[in-house]
Symmetry: C2
């Protein structure tokens, strides 16, 4: 018999069907018991009159052949009666926590220790589906804008970008490093396809155990050539975010806030004033970001706000300066509900500018040889961005910690499971 | 003025347009010169009558404002006349090799040393577009079959699966390892979504410098629950390959061979006979795979052939044995044009079977704690596969070396660019 999903039962009244899944819950009443089966789509209620049939405890995997019986009291208006139950895999140990409560009562460390089990909880599962939908929406929106997907190296020769925060590995007897971002590679690929994107893991050896840092996270990267300046990048990012949020709602039903056709943008100097920060601050602290988020909602009815023109001294060497005031950059951050979830900007594109910038930073040119090749052989004005997927999904779902929306998070103290 | 792409010129006869791109080639004739511009879409021919306008050599980036003039002799039936040329970035050094020849004449090492330049060649670019299309087709085919995308850790605690071939790194003072595959994680996620896929980098510290090995490659992984046996996995894989090949042809125009609705399958014991190998061979050598590829084409008119029932002793511990003959497995390989491009099979799903298999392999259970959790708490019969993207694309395009279809390949001797 062909298996059907729990959500399809209502279309098969009075038929004999095959349902398969996990024993989500067993409710024993006096005259009858209810066996709730969880499958990929949802839940199904099985009416069991013979307690001898209830041999498999919660989380066991079963096949149930039974009759679909309409019952207005049951979830989805149907239940399964006269079941035959086959056990694929019986659980024979106590569960470390229960999965059938609306909210997992176990603390986050216990959930993470038993991730293979905790991720089965509908709330944890829903966050990962939102993550998958966001990623699919990202790709679809970019492909509609002529971006081409690339895959770039995750092991690199030099600890460039910011030497302190990279993982070092043994590469056949010499040092190698895990890439902190695909930044250099996506720029090089602008020379090939003009517009590229990559969805992939990035690695940060940052020893900070906060609710918004991971040592591996999923970066949604894009880079585009032939721009006038960073505002073209911001416009492409805005379209892409709208596509992502649309995909989330379409695929998961999760209500997402509207993405304005033009997201409000404030210059860094203005942002400091709004946040009540001293005028000589070089960066925005989390409290400043929160203040800006509140301002954007209050003044513009927007959950998003761009901060542009970050000071050059706080941005990486490849950042393009603001031609009108070279102390400021054509770099931007995007805040969503008062948290930075995207960093982007226009990059330098002339070889001589790179040489000057690396000299000024005291960096050896040799470490950047392959990267500089792209600029030596002709590159257009270009820019791009990187979205932190886990931060975005945490902010969207209201999760207090990025670990709640990550399948198997990595942090300085956690390398398993 | 809004930029248009080279391929759109024919739709704008006699209009003044803006085209941007790289100087692909300059051809100086007696009375006139031709400037060939390369953009993301193709090539455009610009007629230059004043040699003083040709200041930017090949690979420089330019903007050209000019009039679209029909000319049957020109590529695509149009050329650009009366141009104004603006140089975004001028190349002021000789190129290490020419890009405008139909085939790159530089050897592969020179191409890889200057990857940022070599990848701009239309042939190299085309292979990467095929790669992107294959990946998009993979995802679309799987999403149509209810698979959910996941992102899993690339840094792991134990050198499991096969200890010798893993990269070791320093994880905050203790050892960590780069994941050789998402195998354990995708299996755990079957417990969450039933069907999952992942597109991501995998790492092999194998010191073999061949035309088909890389130390990092892109693995197209899928895993599915509630199967009868490996044949359900093979059927899902066949549908997925058809989707991938369809996407390649649709997106790039590259002609792909048909994927049979049912790919011929031979048992390992039979495969040895066909390949003329001794009956006690534990695995197929490359020459055997080639012989099987020829046999499949000759006997079945198929570029693909499944080999099923590999001996258990050559498959990993999580492989499900053939219930009819436990010396053989429910594991399979898929050969495409005589090369193995996919490995897959049914996996064990009961906790006790894992404990027994790990004991038999002499492996400590503690190293597999988080993984075994999934089976302790109920898992359905399941299986899956992993496709090596670069191998598939090399075999499809006829590239002799996987490095030709990889943007920035990594091998034991190459860690840059």
């Amino acid at each position: 018999m062909q298996r059907i999903l729990s959500t399809e039962l209502a279309s098969h009244p009075y038929e004999k069907v095959l349902v398969e899944g996990w024993v989500h819950r067993i409710r024993r009443l006096k005259a009858v018991s209810f066996l709730i089966i969880r499958d990929a789509a949802g839940l199904a209620q099985v009416v069991v009159t013979d307690p001898a049939q209830l041999t498999a405890p919660e989380e066991s995997v079963v096949s149930v052949t039974a009759t679909v019986t309409p019952n207005e009291q049951a979830p989805n208006g149907v239940e399964l009666t006269s079941p035959e139950i086959h056990v694929h895999a019986a659980v024979d140990v106590p569960l470390p926590f229960e999965l059938h409560r609306p909210v997992l009562t176990a603390g986050l460390p216990a959930q993470l220790d038993h991730a293979a089990l905790a991720l089965r909880h509908p709330a944890r599962r829903a966050a990962l589906r939102i993550s998958a939908a966001a990623t699919a929406g990202f790709r679809a929106a970019l492909e509609a804008q002529r971006f081409v997907e690339v895959h770039t190296p995750k092991i690199v020769e030099s600890a460039t970008e910011s030497g302190a925060n990279v993982f070092q590995l043994d590469y056949f007897g010499r040092p190698g490093y895990l890439a902190q971002s695909p930044q250099f590679y996506k720029q090089m690929m602008v020379g090939v396809f003009e517009r590229v994107f990559e969805v992939g893991p990035v690695f940060r050896a940052e020893n900070s155990d906060t609710a918004r840092h991971l040592t591996q996270y999923t970066s949604l990267d894009a880079e585009m050539g032939f721009i006038a300046d960073h505002r073209d990048v911001m416009a492409a990012l805005t379209r892409t975010l709208a596509g992502m949020f649309g995909a989330i709602t379409e695929r998961t039903g999760f209500a997402t806030p509207g993405v304005p056709a033009e997201i409000p943008a404030v210059h860094f100097a203005e942002a400091l004033k709004i946040a009540g920060a001293p005028a000589d601050e070089p960066d925005l602290a989390p409290a400043h970001e929160r203040a800006l988020g509140e301002w954007a909602r209050r003044e513009h009815g927007s959950e998003f706000v761009f901060v542009t023109g970050y000071p050059m001294r706080k941005r990486p060497f490849y950042t393009h300066p603001d031609p009108a005031d070279p102390a400021y950059s054509n770099g931007f951050d995007l805040l969503f509900r008062g948290l930075e979830i995207v960093t982007g900007g226009q990059r330098l594109h002339r070889h001589a500018d790179y040489v000057a910038a690396l000299h000024a930073a005291g960096e050896p040119l040799a470490a950047y040889r392959g990267y500089l090749d792209a600029f030596r052989y002709g590159m257009p004005p270009h820019g791009g961005w990187a979205i932190g997927l886990e931060r975005l999904v945490a902010r969207l779902t209201g999760a207090a910690n990025v670990r709640e929306v990550t399948a198997f998070p990595r942090d300085p103290h956690r390398l398993a499971p």
